[in-house]
């Protein structure tokens, strides 16, 4: 009797979790299926999970030149993500390692200097004024790269904690006795030992860059510097955004009327989604670990 009861409980447990997983995944299916749906079917039946007629037209349209802006945005996004993540990781390690050294004079002052940025901030208005009036970053590549995303106090603290808890002081002393400089210690000993943490943070930082649309919204008006997210953002309010480029290029303005805007929108969203979903399985364990280590404070 008890065994049977337990079996029921297990079934219910898995059922509950499976339903939950469905709720997480099914919404994505709607945009994926819609992006492969025939344009007229979309017009008549709306976005649907089981469309009457499928079509890859939205994708051939984008890849076949109609989506020059999308492909350009893709290049911008990839560039920003790679450069941003690499720079950010380097800055984070360079800051976290000295902070992890118990013998460093003024260590607490530097730790407070980092930590205080988590407590207090100036907010959008002063930041916006500074970046646009002093540094003139409006409509530059740097606008997507630099404000807010380059160095995160929380990641410095996570990295420092990892260094202090996993790297024994004796090891550092041994390297020093061997005559290694601080730079060799960092590059030959610390970084190889901290690879799991570096991977975790690299994924989280990279995710932040790929998904960021706020810097673009605040500081970019020139579509030359639009990332995929900014293009998506713009397409939501301006359906003709993609076609306006095609029209000016071909010199025909009437082209706009028969563009597959309904499906193309969703296919661009799917394209923006793809890199993350592809990278995720490889980084999944790092992400879970990262949340478990630092999540409470995040």
């Amino acid at each position: 009797m008890n065994m049977k009861k337990m079996k029921y409980a297990t079934v219910i447990l898995h059922l509950a979790l499976i339903i939950l997983c469905f709720i997480c995944i099914v919404p994505f299916l709607l945009i994926v299926v819609s992006s492969f749906t025939d344009e007229t079917t979309l017009m008549i039946n709306g976005y649907s999970f089981f469309p009457e007629k499928l079509s890859t037209y939205a994708y051939t349209y984008i890849l076949g030149g109609g989506g020059v802006k999308v492909l350009h945005g893709y290049v911008v996004s990839i560039g920003v993500t790679l450069i941003g993540t690499a720079t950010s990781i380097i800055l984070t390690i360079l800051f976290a390692y000295p902070l992890s050294r118990r013998d460093l004079p003024l260590r607490n002052i530097f730790a407070f200097f980092v930590f205080f940025t988590m407590l207090f901030n100036g907010g959008l208005v002063p930041s916006y004024m500074m970046w646009t009036k002093v540094f003139h970053i409006k409509n530059t590549f740097g606008a997507l790269l630099v404000p807010n995303l380059l160095l995160n106090a929380f990641y410095i603290i996570m990295m420092r904690t990892y260094f202090t808890t996993t790297i024994p002081t004796e090891l550092l002393e041994a390297v020093k006795i061997d005559g290694g400089s601080e730079v060799t210690t960092l590059s030959k000993v610390i970084i190889p030992l901290a690879k799991p943490m570096i991977s975790t943070l690299a994924f989280m930082i990279g995710l932040g860059y790929w998904n960021d649309w706020m810097n673009g919204l605040y500081y970019v008006t020139d579509s030359k510097y639009f990332s995929v997210q900014n293009i998506l953002n713009r397409m939501l309010s301006d359906v003709q955004f993609l076609s306006s480029a095609a029209a000016t290029q071909s010199g025909i303005s009437s082209v706009t009327s028969n563009l597959p805007t309904t499906g193309v929108r969703m296919s661009v969203a799917v394209i923006g989604l793809l890199p993350i979903l592809m990278a995720y399985p490889f980084f999944q364990k790092y992400l879970v670990k990262g949340i478990m280590i630092g999540g409470v404070k995040g």
Partner: protein
């Protein structure tokens, strides 16, 4: 004395390593803090931040004329409280369920899937929401309501508190579930063994072992979220409703207000005043919340 000088010299490479990060934090984080004085100035683009004349509290007076300011404060606080209560409850339930899953592989699969919504940018989430709610092509109007009594979602404020709460929970429950799950797997298994020998059922074990053991984490996370009740996810409140003006009553928060005042209506004074209040109240609350966390659970306090 030469010994002391030597000691400092030894650390020069370490300080050099911190230099780029220090410069960045000064520019990105500390200079804007000073810029908060803008809230007390009559900003003039041609004069710039420093030369613009002071105007006392008049930016704040303007901010609180009419109902705008109260509405956005009400929304910011209201949504945050709902998110804290429902988010915490859901996360704990899911964490307990995850812990009950016996198979390692199944558990990992569930963990992987519930984190997917967390990975996606708010812009893409707004496309998903649009695919469901669009007036002309939306799944709900077309397929579920079959075009009859179609609801104009993006112009009906009454639905949005529910929609935004749902989207927020959908996006964030995986993340917080994992945090609680991490605490649960740290509970000493002998507690459960002893309890089942005593004949305690699963439910009894959850109530008398799991929940008490989770208490410090629950309190810590809740306090930390309370510390942030004056902040809101700009993307959730601006992007998901597609910036619709008709929905402002239930979607305007301090963050969306500051953005609109600064970049849409070009009203620097009010934007600066609202931003100043947010930074100041935010700081007081974060600081206070941390003092309390520090008393309860020193390990998880920010300081």
């Amino acid at each position: 004395m030469p010994h002391k000088k030597n000691k400092w010299r030894r650390y020069i490479p370490l300080y050099m390593m911190m230099l780029p990060g220090t410069i960045y934090l000064i520019i990105n984080n500390y200079i804007p803090m000073g810029g908060l004085v803008l809230a007390f100035k009559k900003f003039n683009y041609s004069l710039g931040m420093i030369k613009s004349p002071w105007n006392g509290l008049s930016n704040f007076k303007f901010l609180f004329i009419g109902a705008d300011a109260w509405k956005m404060i009400r929304n910011t606080l209201g949504y945050n409280f709902v998110f804290i209560v429902l988010g915490t409850t859901l996360a704990i339930i899911v964490a307990i369920l995850l812990n009950e899953v016996a198979g390692r592989k199944a558990r990992k699969l569930y963990q992987t899937i519930i984190l997917v919504p967390y990975l996606i940018s708010t812009v893409i989430v707004s496309y998903i929401v649009y695919a469901f709610l669009s007036q002309d092509n939306g799944f709900i109007n077309h397929t579920l309501l079959r075009g009859e009594n179609a609801i104009s979602w993006y112009t009906s404020p009454k639905y949005w508190p529910f929609i935004l709460t749902f989207v927020q929970l959908w996006k964030s429950f995986g993340y917080s579930s994992i945090i609680y799950f991490a605490t649960i797997i740290g509970i000493d298994p002998t507690y459960y063994e002893a309890a089942s020998i005593d004949g305690a059922g699963k439910l009894k074990q959850v109530v008398s072992i799991t929940l008490p053991c989770l208490k410090p984490t629950i309190i810590t996370l809740t306090l930390l979220s309370i510390g942030r009740v004056f902040y809101s996810d700009f993307g959730l409140f601006y992007q998901i409703p597609m910036g619709a003006g008709t929905l402002l009553d239930v979607t305007q928060t301090i963050d969306t207000y500051v953005y609109r005042a600064l970049l849409v209506s070009n009203d620097v004074g009010r934007a600066a005043a609202a931003g100043f209040l947010q930074s100041l109240l935010g700081f007081i609350l974060v600081y206070g919340a941390n003092l309390m966390v520090n008393k309860i659970d020193k390990e998880n306090a920010l300081f």
